[in-house]
């Protein structure tokens, strides 16, 4: 025989010892699909015949079976399973995971089992054990269906067992192969006029043949998907049914049932139902149709599948929605949920059941589109969307275009039925997602994380780094609603081995040459503190786009997510200046946005680092100054006595000179800030605006846009001088080196070399460092100490490893942009926060802080 077994099943082999279950299992199933009680006995006790280990062995078997079913893997239980209590717990397990159970009974005559058993060398059961098992099996046969088996296959002879064959049956709900594109339509409830108009608006051609049958077709072969509740309440229920059935029959539409279809079907089948007003409407309209139509309707409704898994599992449609554990599963409970949703058992002030908000707990990757409960506005929540906009109650009929995620709707011609409960209006200003995102859940960032990024695939964050990042975020960072991006770390050029310093432009150029990059831009590196600026066009944007409660013009935060300014008035004043400059420059209009995210450096250094400068840099400069002067003085006196101190004196005087250079080096980046006029902002990336992360624009675009800000407010916004270098042109390279020499001699920190495109890959498709810094000789003195370039020190300092820094720079770059991409795509805050948290976690890894 050829049995068809659902591809996701729990298969119980049932048979006495000696009936050949293990051989049968090995013949028909993958070794990994078989869970054998003997193997589990051996696993826990080293002896597969040890009956005393049976309890522990079944614990292990259940545990593994549970894990497999949760992951949607077919699982075969190779155990005698002749007693109803041993089957009961397995059936319960299957039910828990919404998996169908198939029993395959090896119902062989007693004598065969006994003979086989006595032929075994490894172990033998006594004759009466086998006799008892066979008695239990026989008495079980009639009960199996009632116990909850979806399918029972009894093989009663060696020949039948030998002839057995099976194939995997996809579940009805599995339409993974269907990639659409789809137009998904919410609850129609007999609103045929609106449906007709909407479907035409979606670009379908609708024809009706003389017999009244519909032909529906889309020039781009799109498909309609109906979310159920086609019937009841509305004016033209039969027309809707005819339209949908014709479209489904011709393959232009899919349809899942709603609770109203379910009730109608029971009524049509003659089962007792309470006929409410809405159903009466349907029955009256069906009465006007002929028997054939009613029969067709009954058959159609009977064939509807609870939900569909579409587009390789990326899209789920179900009338009342569906939690992730039920996707692609088939059980009564799944059907129940898909039709009715789940209620909390409580009722609201209108006497209607309060629904369990499964969508707020939803964390799946598949998009779930559903209807069932009318809402005033379809809203995304955790990749789910309810598009029932209550057409029959005078709302609208809404369609979601997939994969475009565009909403198209058609207003109701009139109110056909008064709603029992007024359509809820959510709190003004905040979306459902923002309301939910008000407090983030620790489970979304805790533990070892694997963050999926567009640029680099999976980035793994070790648990201990994640814990450190959580501490920083919780204790010091600004409201996570603002933290949509953290900048990546930046690696220096490879250590120069030939020049009189540690970093030289040639090394950066060579790096990019090796990565097959020929066009780079060198930007002057500003020496201040890194700052991310989010500036809003007006103070309502903070609320409606960022979900921040209080009115605000935006935020300025540091690379670890802290407020840059402790003084909120200073922040506000600065944001206001940036906002006005953006307005003057026309950036809001040009980019069609009401907010901008800028990656910047804010100067002076002393603004944020005053304490550090005094405690460390100025103090060391002073100590060196006093100490070395005293040493030189003592040596001078000694020399006057005619003693040879030449070597020592020259050592001390050269240290003295370098100490003075050190003092000059830090002083360059320090000036007092008495008012806003003393602050400078140097923006270098215009990273994001509404709907866009500008990573597809090259650096010239970024700098050109930012130049317009400087033009609007040059007192505050400092431009970033640059030079383009073509790496296949030696003159161009030479010019780049000279430029670096000039700007560093003039006291600037150094330069940053970037591939011209924002995101660059080498010929192997690997991501290339987005930026390499080349710091100047004098700047390095405040990193490596006053005497770093003394010959004896420099050679030792040249030994430094960049690998960890470079790896972190790439990962953080990918994560930072990923977070922004998620934000502009309107994803839930936790998905953005995951990236921000990951950047911070990677930053907590030990990397040489001088790099």
């Amino acid at each position: 025989m050829l049995a068809k077994i659902p591809e996701l099943s729990l298969i119980l082999l049932i048979g006495a010892s000696g009936s050949g279950k293990s051989s049968f299992a090995q013949k028909h199933f993958l070794p990994t699909e078989i869970l054998s009680s003997d193997a589990c006995r051996a696993m826990v006790s080293d002896d597969e015949t040890n009956q005393a280990a049976t309890g522990d062995a079944f614990d292990v078997l259940h545990y593994i079976a549970g894990k497999r079913l949760a992951r949607g893997r077919l699982t075969v239980i190779d155990a005698t399973n002749v007693q109803s209590e041993s089957r009961r717990s397995l059936i319960a397990l299957a039910r828990q995971h919404h998996v169908l159970v198939t029993a395959i009974v090896l119902n062989l005559p007693e004598q065969i089992c006994i003979n086989r058993n006595s032929g075994r060398t490894d172990r033998q059961f006594s004759r009466h054990v086998i006799q008892r098992q066979i008695r239990q099996l026989k008495s079980s046969l009639s009960k199996l269906r009632r116990e909850g088996m979806h399918q029972v296959i009894v093989l009663s002879s060696e020949d039948e067992i030998e002839a057995f064959q099976w194939e995997r049956q996809p579940l009805w709900n599995n339409k993974s192969e269907d990639h659409g594109p789809f137009d998904i339509i919410g609850d129609v409830h007999g609103c045929f006029d609106e449906l007709h108009a909407l479907v035409e608006k979606l670009g379908y051609h609708i024809l009706q043949d003389p017999k009244g049958a519909y032909q529906v077709r889309h020039p781009e072969s799109r498909k309609l998907v109906f979310l159920g509740d086609l019937v009841d309440r509305g004016p033209k229920i039969a027309d809707v049914l005819r339209f949908v059935m014709d479209a489904v029959d011709s393959g232009t539409a899919l349809c899942v049932p709603g609770n109203h279809e379910s009730k109608l079907l029971r009524k049509l089948k003659g089962l007792p139902v309470t006929v409410s007003h809405g159903l009466q409407e349907t029955l009256d309209q069906l009465d006007r149709e002929n028997d054939a139509f009613r029969e067709r309707t009954k058959k159609f409704l009977d064939g509807l599948v609870s939900h569909y898994v579409l587009d390789s599992g990326r899209l789920i449609v179900a009338h009342a929605g569906l939690p992730e554990t039920m996707h692609g599963r088939g059980s009564a409970k799944v059907r129940e949920f898909a039709l009715y949703g789940e209620t909390t058992g409580e009722t609201d002030e209108f006497g209607l059941p309060i629904r369990y908000n499964w969508a707020s707990d939803y964390r799946g990757n598949a998009m779930v589109v559903y209807g069932h409960t009318p809402v005033p506005q379809p809203e995304w929540l955790n990749r789910t969307i309810n598009i029932d906009t209550g057409c029959v109650f005078g709302g609208r009929l809404t369609a979601l275009r997939y994969p475009e995620n565009q909403l198209v709707d058609e207003a109701a011609r009139r109110v056909y039925t008064d709603p029992i409960r007024p359509l809820n209006h959510p709190a003004p200003g905040l979306s459902a997602q923002q309301v939910q995102d008000d407090v983030l859940d620790i489970a979304d960032i805790a533990g070892k994380r694997r963050v999926q990024t567009h640029l680099m695939g999976t980035v793994t964050v070790p648990e201990e780094n994640g814990a450190a990042a959580l501490e920083v975020l919780s204790r010091f960072a600004a409201d996570p609603k603002w933290l949509i991006y953290l900048p990546p770390t930046m690696s220096p050029a490879e250590t120069s081995q030939e020049f009189d310093t540690l970093e030289h432009p040639m090394e950066a150029f060579l790096y990019f040459q090796r990565q097959n990059i020929s066009d780079v831009i060198c930007e002057q590196k500003h020496m201040g503190s890194r700052a991310v600026i989010i500036v809003c066009r007006d103070d309502s944007v903070a609320k409606h786009r960022f979900g921040v409660q209080e009115n605000s013009l935006g935020i300025i935060y540091t690379r670890t997510g802290r407020h840059f300014f402790e003084n909120p008035e200073m922040e506000l004043a600065l944001l206001n200046r940036v906002r006005m400059a953006s307005e003057t420059a026309g950036l809001f209009d040009h980019l069609q946005t009401d907010w901008l995210l800028l990656d910047t450096e804010i100067m002076p250094w002393s603004l944020k680092a005053q304490d550090l400068i005094q405690r460390q840099y100025a103090a060391v400069g002073r100590a060196a100054h006093i100490g070395l002067a005293a040493a030189v003085d003592a040596l001078t006196h000694t020399a006057r006595r005619g003693l040879d101190t030449a070597d020592l004196t020259s050592l001390m005087t050269s240290q003295q000179a370098r100490a003075e250079q050190f003092i000059r080096a830090y002083r360059r980046y320090v000036w007092p800030v008495r008012s806003l006029d003393d602050v400078k902002i140097a923006p270098f990336h215009l990273l994001a605006s509404e709907g866009k992360v500008h990573m597809d624009q090259d650096h010239e675009w970024h700098l050109e846009k930012l130049q317009s800000l400087t033009a609007a407010d040059s007192a505050l916004i400092t431009p970033t001088p640059t030079i383009r270098v073509l790496l296949d042109d030696s003159q161009s390279i030479e010019a780049g080196v000279v430029w670096w020499e000039q700007i560093t001699a003039a006291g600037f920190e150094g330069m940053v070399v970037k591939p011209l495109p924002f995101v660059a890959r080498n010929d192997d498709g690997k991501l290339v460092q987005p930026a390499i810094k080349v710091r100047g000789r004098e700047y390095l003195r405040i990193i490596y100490g006053p005497d770093y370039n003394a010959k004896e020190n420099l050679d030792r300092l040249r030994h430094r490893g960049l690998a960890a820094k470079r790896a972190a720079a790439l990962r953080e770059f990918a994560l930072g942009l990923e977070g922004l991409q998620r934000f502009v795509a309107g994803e839930p805050l936790r998905r953005v926060h995951e990236c921000v948290h990951a950047v911070l976690a990677l930053e907590s890894q030990p990397v040489d802080p001088r790099l």
Binding site: D438, V439, L440, D441, I442, A443, I445, A446, E464, A467, A468, L470, E471, L473, S474, R475, A478, D479, Q549, Q614, Q616, Y617, A618, A619, V620, G621, R622, A623, A624, I626, G627, L628, A630, A631, A634, L635, T636, H637, T638, R641, L643, D644, T645, L648, L651, M652, I663, R667, V670, P672, I782, I783, Y784, G785, P786, D787, Y788, R796, L797, R850
Partner: protein, 459 residues
């Protein structure tokens, strides 16, 4: 780093014999962290000056040698220029004989009181000249300390923490060297090497004959042993046995009333017991002082210690010996790392939550998330919150006007502010609120700490 020692006792050049270093030589000695040079800027019979100059290897300090870790982690540091434990090591190595009080050539000079002058070019002292005087004057020195601006280009930055110190006294040379050997690291308040048990022996040896009479012996001991409490107590008990129980920790405002925190904890425990809470959350448990009380009290059946700091949790784990509990207490306390501004399902379904001196560590802007996380999501039947009473601060003399009790406090509330907040939270999340003071009550400003007890309304 330069130290000079001069004498005017004629013939002054005898200093060369005492130091075991010839006045007409420039000598160099290798040290683990660099080199020591000894030379004499002046050497007449009227006055002789010996100079000890250290050149510290700045790269070696950070990088260490042959793969071992360095002594400091910043290349930009003052160690090469200032007097520190490096100088003590150099004194011991280069002037070891003199330090021990030996001199073969002029043994009669060893115990002689000589007019001596020591100049240390750069002495770091975060506590100004006051401490320099307190350390040296009781030993008979005339102290002359020169101060410097931090950076003359930025006069608003004030004075630097460095001083050139000249010490004059008439005493045996070995005493001067021993004083310097011990007191220089004390001023610097840092040690470049690991402080172990043998350091106590070293301190006792070099402090012999003077340290036990020094009025600052406690501070000297504590700092010399780099704040290692166990070692400091050990050393003090050997120095002055009757003072063994002195607490050498420097007092802070909170520590001035050491029982306050204990009182607070007992009050919280009492409150939890009054509500018959069995399963309790200690949110922001820190190193586990409240956990200790909850652990040993059989009224509590299950306790969660929750904190944002993994370091604090590790210490709590050790201090409460959670890995070695008697079997009846095993598993009673669970430590969880987490944040109070996130929803955390592990905290749901408990009888009570205690938040002892926690909320003031949260930014005010994060308080709404905290309120929802605790009162709406964790939703225990009882919540006990304590926080400082800002009004009381004026009774702490060490606190300047408007200052807070702890560096990490983001706010401190008056009684009215706390009461207003508590009632707002109570009415939003359905809790009855009771407020009371904790600790001795002052008529005008109330108690040092305040407690809010939130009890869920039964719906």
């Amino acid at each position: 780093m330069l130290l000079t020692i001069s004498t005017t006792r004629s013939p002054a050049t005898d200093l060369g014999y005492l130091l075991h270093k010839h006045p007409n030589k420039v000598q160099t000695f290798p040290l683990t962290f660099g080199q020591a040079h000894v030379f004499y800027p002046e050497a007449t019979s009227a006055r002789c000056t010996a100079a000890l100059l250290l050149s510290v290897d700045p790269v070696g300090l950070v990088r260490g040698k042959a793969g071992s870790e360095g002594l400091v982690d910043q290349y930009v540091n003052d160690r090469p220029y200032t007097a520190s434990s490096f100088l003590s090591v150099a004194i011991a190595q280069v002037f070891g004989t003199a330090l021990a009080g030996h001199c073969k050539a002029r043994p009669e000079l060893v115990e002689q009181h000589l007019p001596l002058e020591a100049t240390i070019a750069v002495v770091p002292s975060q506590d100004g000249t006051d401490l320099i005087r307190r350390l040296f004057e009781p030993l008979g020195y005339t102290v002359n300390a020169t101060s410097y601006p931090l950076d003359e280009q930025f006069p608003e930055w004030g004075e630097s923490p460095y001083y050139t110190v000249r010490l004059n006294a008439t005493l045996p040379l070995h005493q001067l060297l021993n004083h310097l050997y011990v007191l220089i690291p004390v001023l610097d308040n840092d040690k470049h090497y690991y402080v172990g048990d043998d350091e106590v022996a070293k301190l006792l040896r070099h402090g012999e004959g003077w340290l036990e009479f020094h009025p600052e012996r406690q501070l000297i001991t504590t700092r010399y042993l780099k704040h290692h409490r166990g070692l400091a107590t050990l050393a003090i008990s050997r120095l002055v046995p009757e003072n063994a129980n002195d607490d050498p920790a420097s007092p802070t405002s909170e520590n001035q009333a050491p029982s306050l925190h204990e009182q607070r904890l007992l009050k919280v425990v009492e409150e939890l017991k009054k509500h018959e809470s069995r399963r309790v959350l200690d949110l922001g448990c820190g190193e586990g002082r409240l956990l200790r009380l909850l652990l040993k009290d059989p009224a509590f059946k299950e306790v969660i210690g929750f904190d944002i700091s993994t370091a604090a949790l590790t210490r709590a784990q050790e201090r409460l010996h959670l890995d070695h509990l008697p079997s009846h207490l095993e598993g009673k306390v669970t430590l969880l790392h987490g944040s109070l501004t996130y929803r955390d399902r592990r905290l749901e379904g408990f009888d009570a939550a205690a938040l002892v001196e926690v909320i003031e560590h949260l930014d005010l802007s994060r308080l709404p998330s905290f309120e929802r996380a605790v009162f709406e999501f964790a939703h225990p039947k009882v919540v006990v919150v304590t926080t400082p009473n800002a009004e009381y601060n004026r009774l702490y003399p060490s606190l300047t006007e408007g200052a807070m009790r702890h560096r990490d406090h983001r706010f401190e509330w008056t009684r009215q502010q706390f009461t207003d907040w508590a009632h707002k939270v109570g009415s939003r999340f359905g809790y009855a609120v009771r407020i009371e003071g904790l600790g001795p009550e002052d008529e005008a400003v109330g108690s040092p700490s305040q407690m809010g007890v939130f009890t869920q309304y039964v719906s």
